[in-house]
């Protein structure tokens, strides 16, 4: 079963607006990571939040983690057209004997209109 579920699946906003993407997961985790992927390109690591952390910032990115609800959110403030990409959450878990492989969500496709 899918570990990470993201919503919305697609998000279209105007430049300058904030974009919020959510991720839910099912098992206990070591950490949760957010990645960005431009169409057909590589995965770019954005931010990692450990299971004992609740919030983390990196530039225009803000990530929250609620382990009681098994959910995370990624906020991109003051979005730019260059932020247009797919955003994936991924969990690092020892569940089921996993040795650290990441389980990805389905991703949110963000479109920022100039």
């Amino acid at each position: 079963s899918q570990q990470g579920e993201e919503d919305p699946q697609a998000l279209s906003i105007q430049e300058g607006e904030n974009a919020t993407m959510n991720c839910s997961y099912k098992t206990s985790i070591n950490n949760l990571q957010w990645y960005r992927q431009n169409s057909g390109r590589g995965l770019v690591h954005l931010i990692l939040i450990r299971s004992n952390e609740r919030e983390k910032h990196s530039g225009r990115l803000r990530v929250t983690l609620d382990t009681s609800k098994k959910s995370s959110s990624l906020l991109i403030t003051a979005s730019r057209a260059a932020d247009t990409a797919s955003y994936f959450c991924a969990t690092d878990t020892n569940y089921g004997g996993s040795q650290g492989n990441l389980i990805f969500g389905k991703g949110t496709k963000l479109s920022v209109k100039p």
Partner: protein, 117 residues
């Protein structure tokens, strides 16, 4: 800074042929992970190696095999290719041990785009 290097960047093969993808991890990283991402899909874990031994296995078909060599680079060998194998194949590396991985995460390569025709 050196990143994870994957080769080739693009590969076109015919059905039933074989393909070998290569991954060179970041220096001093001793753990390698392989992922497959089909069109419009999220990346799916295939297999991982730590210190040249297989450490975890995901949804890797029996037609695929992989290994990690003494210099820590890894190769993914794919035989009897099928149309459905067309995908982006990513390699990621990390420092071994849960402590390092939990705190510092992974670095992904740019991927190999395999097209089976």
């Amino acid at each position: 800074a050196a990143g994870v290097i994957q080769s080739p960047r693009h590969l076109i093969k015919e059905k039933r042929e074989t393909a070998t993808l290569k991954c060179y991890p970041i220096p001093r990283h001793d753990t390698v992970y392989w992922y497959q991402q089909g069109p419009g899909q999220d990346p799916q874990f295939l297999i991982s190696f730590y210190e040249k031994m297989q450490s975890d296995k995901g949804s890797i078909p029996d037609r695929f095999s992989a290994q990690q060599f003494s210099d820590y680079h890894s190769e993914l060998n794919m035989s009897s290719l099928e149309l459905g194998d067309s995908a982006l194949y990513f390699c990621a590396s990390s420092l071994g041990g849960q402590g390092a991985r939990v705190n510092y995460g992974y670095t992904f390569g740019s991927g190999t785009r395999l097209t089976v025709v």
